[in-house]
């Protein structure tokens, strides 16, 4: 494990923590963006360049902006009166800790079985393209359909209602 990994990991985790813990929503949104960026760089370090760039394009370029828009449209910049954490935050924390405990335990238990080093995969974008329209054409089409439906659905959901005639 090299230093880059640790730095990137720290960046990602820090961004995530900040996203969850900060009070101002806009700060949270920006911290999320930092987390996304860290993840993208991790992808790059894992020789998944396409995924990394896709991550940057989609998440940082679209989802984060979307989040910011939503915050702004819902007046998230105002601080709520009752505090940002729900009344029973401890329960949630415990459950999240439980989840991490289970997952971590699973990983550590199976440490012996995990591979050490492997060769860098010789994968090009061309291969990814061929795979998309070859083997994975059905999921591709379905995702296209899904995206269309999502787009239309989001528009309808968020649209101003017409005034009903009284």
């Amino acid at each position: 494990m090299n230093l880059v990994f640790y730095l990137l990991a720290a960046l990602t985790i820090g961004g995530g923590l900040a996203a969850v813990l900060l009070k101002h929503l806009v700060h949270c949104a920006l911290a999320t963006t930092v987390a996304f960026a860290g993840l993208a760089m991790l992808f790059l370090q894992l020789d998944a360049q396409f995924a990394g760039f896709a991550q940057i394009l989609v998440y940082i370029g679209a989802v984060a902006i979307l989040i910011v828009f939503a915050i702004l449209l819902t007046r998230g910049s105002e601080l709520p009166k009752d505090g940002v954490f729900s009344r029973s935050w401890f329960v949630g924390l415990v459950i999240a800790a439980g989840v991490f405990a289970v997952l971590g335990w699973a990983v550590l238990e199976s440490m012996r079985a995990l591979p050490q080093q492997t060769a860098v995969p010789a994968v090009t974008v061309h291969d990814i393209g061929i795979a998309l329209v070859g083997r994975y054409v059905l999921p591709l089409e379905i995702v296209a359909l899904l995206l269309t439906a999502a787009t239309i659905g989001a528009v309808i959901v968020a649209m101003h209602e017409k005034e009903r005639p009284r």
């Binding site: 729900s86 329960v91 949630g92 459950i95 999240a96 439980g98 989840v99 289970v102 997952l103 335990w105 699973a106 238990e109």
Partner: protein, 690 residues
């Protein structure tokens, strides 16, 4: 012997026997038609009644002539027609009618006297508004009485007997708005009913022993040889054979209907009815039905008697008749109502008839019945004429001196009275009563009846003289003035008076036609009949008795007319005797204390049982049911419904509890989801450890 068989189209009998049934049916049909008429159609009603009875009279005369013709030729006529009414099992119930000398005589008497009284009633009831109803009932009575006469079956006789009793009830209570009349009708019906119960027992017993209720049926009838011998052989206790016992039971029915001693109490009260009713029913015909019945079943009572001797049954009949004769005559002495005196006189004379049957046989009793019918009807119709003429006054103390105001009535009444007393030679009553006295004299068992009957004759003369003196002699003590009755009423009186004299001719010892006719012997006019030993003495003796009675009565009452409020002459001299006689020897009171009191007590007991015991049981059962219903309702409402309601409430609250799971808060759902996934994964991992 000419007889007929079953009811078939070809008659072996004479034609008259074939249509004999018309005699009772014609008046009954007339009665039915009159019942459907409206009240104002008086002429039609009277016409129908008189017309139908005339037809009956005509046919009766034809039948009588037929029988007399047969008798004159020396053959015995007993023709009958029988038919089967219904079968049950292997036995049948037969009805039929018979024509023999006894029936033919009775037919003529009943229809003739009845017709005269019908004609009389047209005048007597002219002012009554229920004229039509009167004739309807009268016709029904006439039809039923004629049915009793010709019946060849004890059952048919009983049925007609009951109809006669019914019409008697209807006619006694004709003026039913009067409470005394309604009570008298009820009393008559109930008292005769007591006798009828025994009658019915006799009928049933006879049927069970002989298997038939027909009198004459080719030798197998109940009054014919075979059956009688059979009945004679069975013993019924008390020295009676079955025949005698049955005969006495049937006699009990006659006791009720003919007013003999224990059951006579209804006859005086029956005078509440209109006078024609009293004349027809309670003097001439209905009460004679009892005597006729005994005459009809005479073979039953006589069988087993040694020649010249008598049976137990006939002895009972004799003693009952003789005691009744004296008993009623005693009471008649002290009565003040003109009709009541005649009523007690009727009871007394019926006693004579019964005694005559018991002592001397059918002919002796029947002769007195026939003569009595005429002169008693005459006396009653005469009394009706008197009442009518005195403006409905019936108390003899308020009458008097009517011999000049109502001469025709007086003459006919006097003739009737002398006939009743038995005035010698000229009057029929003398011959008939003497026949009975002669039979009593020759009775071996005891001379008791003879002395009783002689004493009765004395009393009869005495009280009749008293009545005639009070009514016709002396001076008028009533209000208003008396007048003679119209011809339609006096004509029947004259006709009856004629017969009261003339009928004596056929029963004298010189020419005992009547007795011969009934006994199927020949008769010839022979003055030597008077020469029988003891007969002359007897006739002289009875004449003396009659004169003594007449003289005693005249001496006490004569031409005097005491004021209505003054005591009677006899009362003044022997008040201790007068009072019980006037109060009818307390028989009614005795019955009131015993029978009626018992009945009242029994009715109260039954009422108490009904209300308290049965009613109580019903109430208890009802209460139990109510309890049961309440219990059911409690179970239903509190347990079933309540349980159900409770369950529903529990489910509802349970649902309320469960609905808290759906809090509607998304983060809670997520938490639960995550926790569940954790748990699941943990389990999976744990279980798949190597």
């Amino acid at each position: 012997m000419q007889e007929s068989g079953a009811f078939t189209p070809q008659f072996a009998t004479s034609a008259i026997t074939g249509i004999l049934w018309l005699i009772p049916v014609a008046p009954m049909v007339a009665s039915g038609v009159i019942a459907l008429l409206k009240q104002p159609r008086r002429k039609l009603a009277a016409g129908l009644a008189i017309g139908s009875l005339s037809i009956s009279l005509l046919l009766s005369l034809v039948a009588f002539c037929h029988v007399v013709a047969g008798w004159a030729h020396g053959s015995v006529i007993r023709e009958f027609v029988n038919f089967t009414w219904f079968r049950f099992g292997s036995s049948t119930v037969d009805l039929g009618w018979v024509l023999d000398p006894l029936a033919s005589i009775m037919l003529v008497m009943v229809s003739f006297v009845g017709l005269l009284i019908f004609i009389y009633s047209v005048g007597y009831m002219a002012h009554d508004e229920n004229f039509t109803r009167f004739f309807c009932f009268l016709s029904l009575f006439a039809g039923a009485m004629l049915g009793v006469v010709i019946s060849n079956s004890l059952l048919l006789l009983f049925m007609c007997w009951e109809i006669v009793g019914l019409t008697s009830y209807l006619l006694i209570g004709f003026w039913y708005q009067k409470p005394s009349a309604a009570a008298a009708a009820k009393k008559a019906f109930v008292t005769t009913r007591v006798g009828d119960v025994f009658f019915l027992l006799g009928i049933v017993w006879l049927f069970s022993q002989t298997g038939t209720l027909l009198f004459y049926n080719h030798g197998v009838g109940s009054l014919e040889g075979l059956a009688l011998v059979n009945l004679l052989s069975q013993h019924a206790g008390l020295g009676l054979s079955a025949a005698g016992a049955i005969g006495l039971l049937i006699f009990a029915g006659a006791v009720g209907k003919s007013g003999q001693l224990p059951l006579h109490v209804w006859l005086p009260d029956a005078m509440e009815g209109p006078t024609p009713v009293s004349a027809l029913i309670h003097a001439a015909t209905m009460v004679a039905a009892g005597v006729y019945l005994v005459a009809r079943v005479y073979p039953l009572m006589q069988i087993g008697a040694a020649p010249g001797g008598t049976t137990t049954a006939l002895t009972v009949v004799t003693w009952v008749g003789a005691s009744t004769a004296v008993f009623a005559a005693l009471i008649a002495v002290a009565q003040n109502d003109i009709k009541r005196i005649l009523a007690y006189s009727t009871i007394s004379q019926l006693g004579y008839m019964m005694a005559g049957l018991g002592l001397g046989g059918v002919a002796v009793g029947m002769f007195h019945l026939i003569t009595h019918a005429f002169f008693k009807a005459l006396l009653f119709l005469g009394a009706g004429s008197v009442i009518h003429g005195c403006h409905e006054e019936q108390d003899i103390r308020r009458m008097g001196g009517l011999k000049s105001d109502m001469p025709l009535t007086f003459v006919t009444y006097a003739i009737g009275m002398l006939a009743l007393c038995g005035f010698p030679i000229f009057f029929s009553g003398f011959w008939s009563k003497d026949g009975i006295l002669e039979a009593a004299q020759h009775w071996d068992l005891s001379k008791g009846p003879f002395y009783l009957l002689v004493f009765g004759a004395l009393l009869t003369a005495f009280y009749m003289t008293r009545q005639v003196c009070y009514v016709f002699f002396g001076h008028w003590r009533g209000h208003g003035s008396a007048h003679e009755s119209p011809k339609v009423m006096t004509l029947p009186l004259a006709i009856l008076a004629f017969f009261a004299i003339a009928l004596g001719v056929i029963g004298t010892p010189a020419w005992p036609w009547f007795h011969a006719f009934l006994s199927n012997r020949a008769a010839s006019f022979d003055l030597h009949g008077f020469a029988e030993p003891g007969l002359g003495l007897l006739m002289l003796g009875s004449s003396c008795v009659v004169f003594a009675g007449l003289g005693l009565g005249w001496w006490l009452y004569g031409n005097k007319s005491p004021k209505p409020e003054a005591p009677d002459a006899l009362e003044k001299s022997a008040p201790w005797l007068w009072k019980p006689l006037r109060d009818r020897l307390y028989i009614d009171e005795f019955y009131g204390v015993t029978v009626i009191a018992f009945y009242g007590w029994w009715a109260r007991v039954a009422d108490w049982l009904d209300r308290r015991v049965w009613g109580g049981i019903v109430a208890v059962i009802a209460w139990l049911f109510g309890l049961w219903a309440r219990l059911n309702r409690f179970l239903d409402v509190d347990w079933v419904d309540g349980g159900f309601d409770k369950t529903c409430e529990e489910i509802s609250s349970g649902g309320g509890l469960l609905s808290r799971v759906e809090g509607g808060r998304v983060q809670n759902y997520l938490r639960i989801l995550a926790a569940a996934v954790v748990a699941l994964v943990a389990i999976l991992l744990w279980s798949s450890r190597p």
